[in-house]
């Protein structure tokens, strides 16, 4: 008989996410539902405000990808007003973006996703001397894995565990059969978990040098950047350079090496070497490292193109047609179900709550649970579609599409990684592949983003402009958008300015694409699709589900947004009282 499992909250993410799955008699997932359980309505709030403030509001969509929505909000307005900021400003934004990626991806891997792969308790039985030698298998130049250092890490963890008071590590899935690293490998990873806590401060300082603070930097303005004094200080430039190099060093000596280690150890684990899910991939050009020269390129690939690519057959990479983007709410807690382009979207909340059902609880017993209405509405995330199809966005899409387009920098690191791990190219199309692509994206940035720094220094010699002046004409209507690739995938912000204020604002964000519920045709979103067929060893400890979902790096505060072009009265929202959950 089929059983239902509810995982809520999915922790170690940004925001509030619930995942429900149905498993068959063999404990294989046959159906999955992704549900966001928080709605904030920031775009409604933007209506009627000064367009120059848009970036500050949208920045607060998320404090993890803290810079992404700030930049997007500023650049959507610049696009609407027809402003191109000076090269100095654009390159400074690239350097801040590099700081974001070098912070966000390692923190995701070590502190959010890492403990899905690493069994901390197992590290206690490791032989530090052996572990220290082991680290050289994955890189010629390991970091934080000297025998003395590993011994100290082990002692620290042992003391912590001995107290029997595990704090954030309590009641986890330690000892789960799908943990595949040896005690020595686990010890290496735990040492890097601690080292990464230290390094993330450095990456945040990188951002703060030009951005004033992190999270939520504050030095971008419509027209350019404000940190001219920092740019004119050689000492400040030197600080950035040094911290960049420290981070790049960590990426190459720890992050890269650890993903190689995990790739080798987990290659045979069925719960991670499948799960590509939605195979339609989309990415967008990003990282302007020189005047109109970008590290990554744009493109859409459909499932057949991806299959052809990995099987060595002729394939196509398509250009995106923005008019084919729609969002619909058949299974989302909003009234209007029809698929509309973002500019025409409607969003009136229609919360229908949960229903009561028996599901497998944390002890493996059947227990009363609130579950979603699978045939009705079940998430605050809408379903964005492209030409009616779901798209997967994120580092996997970025790496695969750029690989397919012949991006030399991408092809080089992908080929090296596959050679080092002995994995076939098909391995990229999996949960493990998603995690590996995030690391490869970080490495490409770590190895190449200083091109922007060098070009900035060259340009500063002859040009000190950081701002393009502009006027907003109250009698004109402006429309504009930002599309770019942020740590979790393609982000777009759409703005209409009328009477000098924001008339309409919309954000279609990476996690909206990836966490979307089913559409009117019953087609699953990427999270849901990636869980189908997943084997679960122990229904009371669904680590496999958590691992697959974390591989997307969910950011739910980003995903849930509202579109209201019609100025609907908010007070008229009707809520079904019987639908309320408690």
């Amino acid at each position: 008989m089929s059983k239902r499992i509810v995982v809520d909250p999915i922790t170690r993410i940004e925001g509030h996410l619930r995942v429900e799955v149905i498993v068959d008699d063999n404990n294989k997932v046959t159906e999955a539902y992704s549900s966001s359980t928080l709605w904030r309505g920031i775009e409604t709030i933007l209506k009627g405000r000064d367009p120059r403030d848009a970036g500050f509001f949208t920045q607060r969509i998320c404090g993890v990808c803290t810079y992404s929505h700030y930049k997007a909000g500023i650049q959507a307005v610049e696009n609407a007003l027809g402003i191109k900021p000076p090269l100095n400003a654009r390159l400074t934004r690239t350097l801040m973006n590099a700081a974001l990626f070098l912070h966000d991806h390692p923190v995701h891997f070590y502190h959010l996703h890492g403990l899905d792969w690493v069994d901390v308790v197992s590290a206690l039985s490791a032989d530090p001397a052996k572990a220290s030698k082991e680290a050289f298998k994955y890189t010629d130049n390991p970091i934080a894995t000297g025998e003395d250092e590993l011994k100290n890490v082990q002692r620290r963890v042992a003391e912590f565990v001995k107290k029997g008071h595990l704090g954030p590590f309590a009641n986890a899935y330690w000892g789960h059969p799908t943990y595949k690293l040896t005690p020595e490998q686990n010890l290496i990873a735990v040492s890097h978990y601690l080292k990464a806590l230290e390094m993330q401060r450095t990456a945040a300082q990188m951002m703060a040098i030009f951005g004033s603070k992190q999270p939520h930097p504050q030095s971008l303005t419509v027209g350019g950047v404000t940190c001219i004094m920092d740019l004119q200080s050689p000492a400040r430039l030197g600080e950035y350079l040094t911290k960049f190099q420290e981070m790049a060093d960590f990426v190459n000596r720890a992050y890269y090496a650890d993903v190689v280690m995990a790739g080798l150890a987990y290659a045979g684990e069925p719960s991670v070497n499948a799960g590509l899910g939605t195979a339609n991939l989309w990415t967008y050009k990003e990282f302007e490292v020189g005047n109109d020269s970008f590290l990554f390129d744009s493109g859409v690939m459909f499932a057949e193109d991806v299959i052809n690519l990995v099987t060595g057959k002729p394939y196509k990479v398509h250009d995106l047609d923005e008019s084919k983007i729609t969002e619909e709410a058949t299974h989302s807690w909003y009234q209007d179900d029809e698929a509309l382009h973002p500019y025409d979207g409607k969003t009136n909340p229609k919360y229908t709550g949960f229903k009561e059902e028996q599901t497998v609880n944390g002890k493996g017993e059947m227990a009363p649970t609130k579950v979603i209405h699978e045939d009705g509405k079940y998430s605050w995330v809408k379903s964005p579609r492209y030409d009616g199809k779901p798209l997967q966005v994120g580092p996997l899409a970025n790496i695969v599409v750029n690989y397919a387009k012949g991006n030399q920098k991408v092809q080089k690191v992908v080929n090296e990684f596959l050679a080092k791990t002995g994995l076939p190219i098909t391995a990229v199309a999996s949960t493990l592949g998603r995690t590996a692509c995030r690391m490869l994206e970080t490495k490409i940035i770590a190895d190449n983003a200083l091109e922007a720094f060098n070009n900035l220094v060259q340009n500063l010699k002859v040009d000190d402009s950081t701002y393009t002046s502009y006027k907003i004409d109250k009698n004109k209507v402006y429309k504009g958008r930002y599309i770019g690739n942020v740590p979790r995938g393609v982000l777009s912000h759409w703005v209409v300015i009328k009477n000098g204020v924001i008339e309409n604002y919309q954000a279609v964000v990476p996690t909206t694409w990836n966490a979307s519920p089913k559409d009117a045709n019953g087609v699953r979103g990427p999270y849901e699709e990636s869980l189908i067929g997943l084997p679960i060893a122990d229904l009371s400890q669904p680590l496999e589900i958590v691992r697959v979902i974390h591989s997307f790096d969910p950011c739910l505060a980003c995903a849930v947004h509202v579109m209201d072009t019609k100025g609907n009265e908010l007070s008229s929202y009707k809520v079904d009282p019987n639908g309320a959950s408690c």
């Binding site: 809520d8 909250p9 922790t11 170690r12 940004e14 925001g15 359980t37 709605w39 904030r40 309505g41 920031i42 709030i45 009627g48 405000r49 000064d50 120059r52 500050f56 509001f57 607060r60 404090g63 993890v64 403990l115 620290r156 001995k162 704090g167 954030p168 590590f169 601690l194 806590l197 230290e198 945040a204 300082q205 703060a208 040098i209 004033s212 603070k213 992190q214 999270p215 930097p217 504050q218 030095s219 303005t221 027209g223 404000t226 001219i228 004094m229 709550g353 599901t359 609880n361 944390g362 609130k370 605050w380 950081t466 701002y467 393009t468 002046s469 109250k474 958590v546 509202v562 408690c582």
Partner: protein, 386 residues
């Protein structure tokens, strides 16, 4: 409160804390300090410094030292409501103590959705277990505004679909001390900006227990971590201002200690971002700096281990630690009185003053407004010290 009475109160507080079950058995702060080569004398010096910072007489110094030695007994429950996780990210930036030593050596972080390993049923169990086991003894920190009233189900957490408001109420009812971390939890935050579509409320509106507000968007790591020590010392509300913000962090106006204050006094203003004044570090008032209206220690402590702060990076303060700043301080890149057209913000607060001219304004209106604000804070802040 008289000092003698306060002294007595703190002594009793520390005595009762000392009777708490020790969470981390084998390493007291005293030992840690010795391990790090800090002598007892240095430690007492530090305690004396902290005592002075809190404006207490020197007789309190031994109590301060005793308080620091008790931090390793503190269970902390951190809840996420309608938020962006920026405050949690800010906590991660702490270097004094570092985040790893905070987790491993100092506090016992019982529940924190961004950092904890357990998910789903196991996570729910951890929360209930912590609230039960440490009833009346844990510190509650809440990040995010709370969809309340008829909109409370705009946030649910856990397999039982319990609303955020219900979680917050329950955790607050059993906490020893409650901190609203960030402007959302303190004042409602960005989601509570006009027209507040989800009826997001500050924590203080959903619990009848006293709440200490630690606003900022996000607050610096220093302002978050600093309050843990406050709690241990007093076991009750620290000295707060009119908005229940700890005075030690929010007692000074940004403007008063601003590095560009000399430019303001000299009447040297950036007229437009990127102009010659911007290159010379002129005052940012005319491009919207809200430093004159904002109480926080940014100009002193800065962010990310003192790396920078908005004014240093050439952008004005947006007033993010003030109540309702999203509506009250916008547009962020115009002086408050300079609103050129009708927006959701309404008319400018000192519109008339601004029309008189910037020179006069700088000399008088800002000064008057500031003094009025300070007076208001002083006038109504004393009640919370009782």
């Amino acid at each position: 409160m008289e000092h003698a009475e306060l002294y007595q109160k703190i002594s009793e507080r520390l005595e009762s804390l000392a009777k708490f079950p020790q969470l981390k058995e084998n390493k007291s702060i005293t030992q840690l300090i010795e391990d790090h080569g800090i002598s007892r004398r240095d430690f007492m010096k530090w305690a004396a410094g902290m005592t002075a910072m809190l404006s207490l007489p020197s007789t309190f110094t031994p109590l301060m030292a005793q308080a620091a030695e008790l931090t390793d007994r503190l269970p902390v429950v951190w809840l996420h409501m309608a938020e962006c996780t920026g405050c949690s990210e800010s906590l991660l930036r702490t270097d004094a103590p570092t985040i790893d030593s905070l987790i491993f050596d100092h506090i016992s972080l019982e529940y924190h959705e961004t950092l904890m390993v357990a998910c789903g049923w196991q996570a729910e169990h951890n929360l209930e277990h912590a609230i039960e086991k440490y009833k009346g003894k844990y510190i509650l920190m809440v990040e995010g505004g709370i969809p309340a009233g008829s909109s409370e189900f705009y946030l649910t957490v856990g397999p039982h679909g319990k609303t955020g408001q219900a979680h917050a109420k329950h955790a607050a009812a059993n906490a020893a001390a409650i901190f609203a971390i960030g402007s959302c939890s303190s004042f409602g935050g960005v989601q509570a900006a006009y027209p507040n579509p989800t009826n997001a409320q500050p924590l203080s509106k959903v619990t009848d227990k006293p709440v200490i507000n630690v606003p900022g968007c996000p607050p610096s790591e220093k302002n978050i971590v600093g309050n843990v020590l406050h709690y241990i010392l007093f076991g009750t509300l620290p000295a707060l201002d009119a908005f229940n913000r700890p005075k030690w962090a929010y007692g000074i106006r940004i403007h008063d200690l601003c590095e560009r204050r000399g430019r303001f006094d000299a009447g040297e203003f950036v007229q437009e971002f990127g102009d010659e004044g911007a290159k010379k570090g002129y005052c940012l008032y005319k491009v919207g700096c809200k430093g004159p209206y904002t109480f926080n220690n940014c100009s002193r402590e800065r962010f990310n281990q003192h790396t920078s702060w908005p004014v240093q990076a050439g952008h004005g303060c947006i007033g993010c630690s003030e109540p309702d700043f999203w509506d009250a301080m916008g547009p962020f890149e115009e002086p408050l009185g300079d609103r050129l057209y009708q927006t959701v913000y309404g008319e400018g607060a000192d519109k008339t003053a601004d029309k008189v001219g910037i020179a006069l304004l700088t000399a008088t209106a800002v000064g008057i407004a500031a003094h009025a604000a300070i007076a208001a804070v002083k006038g109504s802040g004393s009640k919370s010290e009782e």
